[in-house]
């Protein structure tokens, strides 16, 4: 029973791998036009030479906001863990 389940799941994984090898988009042709747009227009739109900074802080600024929130939560958690405890508090 377990051998049959393992064989079936292995067959499914191999089928996905073979299918993705045939269905992959051609080399050098990205599936979206967004990167070409950003590379061509980021200097004029954001005035930034560094396209990575333009993507991080302008086009995908909301993602950076989430990253900053993650850091804030991490610092809050560490300080809360290592803070002084009052007497009698566990």
């Amino acid at each position: 029973m377990r051998k049959t389940a393992a064989a079936i799941s292995l067959g499914i994984v191999i089928a996905f791998l073979v299918a993705s090898a045939f269905l992959i988009h051609p080399f050098g042709q990205p599936p979206s036009q967004m990167d070409d747009y950003i590379i061509e227009n980021s200097q004029a739109e954001t005035g930034t030479n560094n396209v990575v900074a333009a993507v991080l802080f302008d086009y995908r600024g909301f993602d950076t906001l989430g990253e900053a929130t993650i850091l804030f939560t991490a610092v809050t958690g560490v300080v809360m863990l290592f803070r002084a405890r009052k007497k009698g508090e566990k």
Binding site: T48, N49, L56, V75, V79, F82
Partner: protein, 154 residues
Amino acid sequence: MMMSKIVRTVSNILVLLVFIFGLYIIMHGHVTPGGGFQGGAVVASGAALIIVAFGSQNVQKRLKEHHLSILESSGALIFIGLAFGGLATIFFYNFLVGSPLFGHVPPSGPNPGDVWTGGVIPLMNVGVGLKVLAGLSAIILVMALTSSGVEVEE
């Protein structure tokens, strides 16, 4: 717990270079590779050097943990305030391009680079850099203090 005089003297000299390099990475984040996160991590590594060399209890006399917390929160406020500043068009709109503050627009394609460009991006880099350097320094300081047996106030 303080390390020997040689280590203290060398780290006294070295930490200035580390801080200057970190601030350079933060301020040039929109021209060269780097930015707020990376430069803040470099500055926090300088703080770690100072804490290792001089001992966390001596550092704590000059650098309180809640001051770092205030610095981190102000960095986050700078960042999200600049994000709200462009709300007349859209959230995170770059409203400073073309204005007198960081308003130059570089020519398209390869160019020598100009620090006075980028609109809100250098200011956001400063905000995120403040946030990361204060946050990571606070983590290092609190952990070092706790491992040396001192209970952190606040």
